[in-house]
Symmetry: C2
Subunit: 275 residues, 2 copies
């Protein structure tokens, strides 16, 4: 069943070509390739300058589907946690300056040396509570992104969509979820939690799970090269009221080695074929 | 808080030293080191012969805490699924011959080329239903082992303790769960599901999650070298009525390279220190 004719709008996450292109090249590449959305990481944003980037993106007619990333709240001491909160405040201001549809939150792993998972989860909640007033005032949606459980120790103690929605329930207005198929496809509760997410999906990210997967972070697959039924997950998101972009975010040593122009072209083709 | 004086009984899973020791050496090593339990994989069991192994283990006074492993039900066609069920029937007979406390079930991943995760999960359930009469007749408990979500594509579509307990509820008598801390430690539902597991924990496995983890299968850590609060998880299991062995199961290229005698000694020390 080919529904390429009505595939949702596509967005490029800049990490996908980070080894060869800065933000200006990503903006120009999206414009050339007819990709209408972009989602920058903060490192390339800072390298270009926030004001210049906002102007350049606006001039190219692109939608900023998200800013990557806030979060990383847990830290070994109070000073570390306060520094993380300060950095999140800057990220909120940057997301507002870009008119980003959300600030993607990668919440952070265990503090170094810690085995206290409930404690780290409490730090995440406290961090979110601390920055939520600024986010609301700036009109920036915090998109809580559950990350695959294999990242729990060092990147995200927020591991499932259900857990993210529990946090949304607790935090209230201004908080949603970012659903990345790579992180949630395995979850036996996924269909139920996607239905529960009604109206709260702020971003939808796609890539694929390769068999075998040879690295816990940098071996994501191009959509269509793995085992994730991306179209089925997109349908779940749409049934939950999401009508926005599909953002392709690849962290992949293999694809980082290719010509970015080819990567964008292949993403366009695969996006049409997997939706 | 050192509770080494009342650490639970220890069992050695033979895969931990599989590169250098066969089953006879494992049995003798456990006896020498004062490790009272053993859990063989079927490859080393077949190499020794089931009857010889059963006799040798009995003579050494060891408890067989499990046989690894049954499962692997999903297959691309009916013939493949029937072959899996036949193999599981042989595994049940072997577990009975050994007097094993359970047959550990690693349920299997997606069939090759498939993206149909609900379909694979249905195959697992159908496979379990097919072999359950033999298991009950033989008095062999099927211990459903949820495996880490990073193994969902190629090893186990059974990913969480909650999902395993749902299967237990559906299947009834003769089915329990194997809780391996490596596979479940990240789960935000863990405490609730461990409480729900009351009376149904058939095995408790320990190793550790290393930071960083460099391989999705063969980089498990020695207890104490990682971030898992093993003692806390053991307490949850005990609160759910489990009073059995802690079985140490390491799949680790690093530890496979060491002298097995040293590995067993270190496991004994770490077992005492992490319980």
């Amino acid at each position: 069943m080919n529904r390429a004719h009505n595939a949702p709008p596509l967005s490029l996450n800049t990490v996908t070509v980070k080894e060869k292109w800065g933000l200006a090249q990503c903006i120009e590449g999206c414009a050339r390739q007819g990709i209408p959305g972009i989602s920058p990481w903060r490192d390339v944003l800072h390298a270009m300058g926030v004001e210049a980037a906002a102007r350049h993106i606006r001039d190219a007619g692109l939608v900023v589907t998200g800013l990557c990333r806030g979060g990383m709240f847990p830290a070994a001491d109070a000073a570390g946690r306060a520094a993380a909160i300060e950095d999140n405040r800057r990220a909120i201001a940057e997301a507002a300056a870009l008119g980003a549809q959300c600030l993607v939150m990668v919440c952070g792993g265990l503090p170094p040396g810690s085995k206290d998972l409930p404690g780290a989860r409490a730090m995440v909640r406290e961090g979110l509570e601390a920055i939520l007033p600024e986010a609301r005032a700036a009109g920036v949606t915090l998109a809580l992104e559950p990350l695959h459980p294999m990242t729990c120790a060092d990147r995200s103690v927020l591991s499932t969509l259900g857990q993210a929605l529990d946090l949304c329930d607790a935090l209230g207005e201004g908080v949603g979820v970012a659903v990345d198929v790579y992180h949630v496809w395995w979850d036996p509760e996924l269909a139920a939690q996607m239905a529960r997410a009604q109206g709260r999906i702020a971003a939808f990210h796609a890539c694929d799970w390769l068999v075998p997967t040879t690295d816990l972070v940098f071996d994501r697959g191009m959509p269509g090269d793995g085992v994730i039924d991306i179209a089925a997950l997109r349908r779940m998101a749409e049934a939950a009221g999401y009508a926005g972009f599909t953002e392709v975010e690849l962290l992949s040593r293999r694809w980082w080695g290719e010509d970015p122009e080819d990567v964008l072209r292949i993403i366009r083709e695969r996006h049409a074929a997997t939706h």
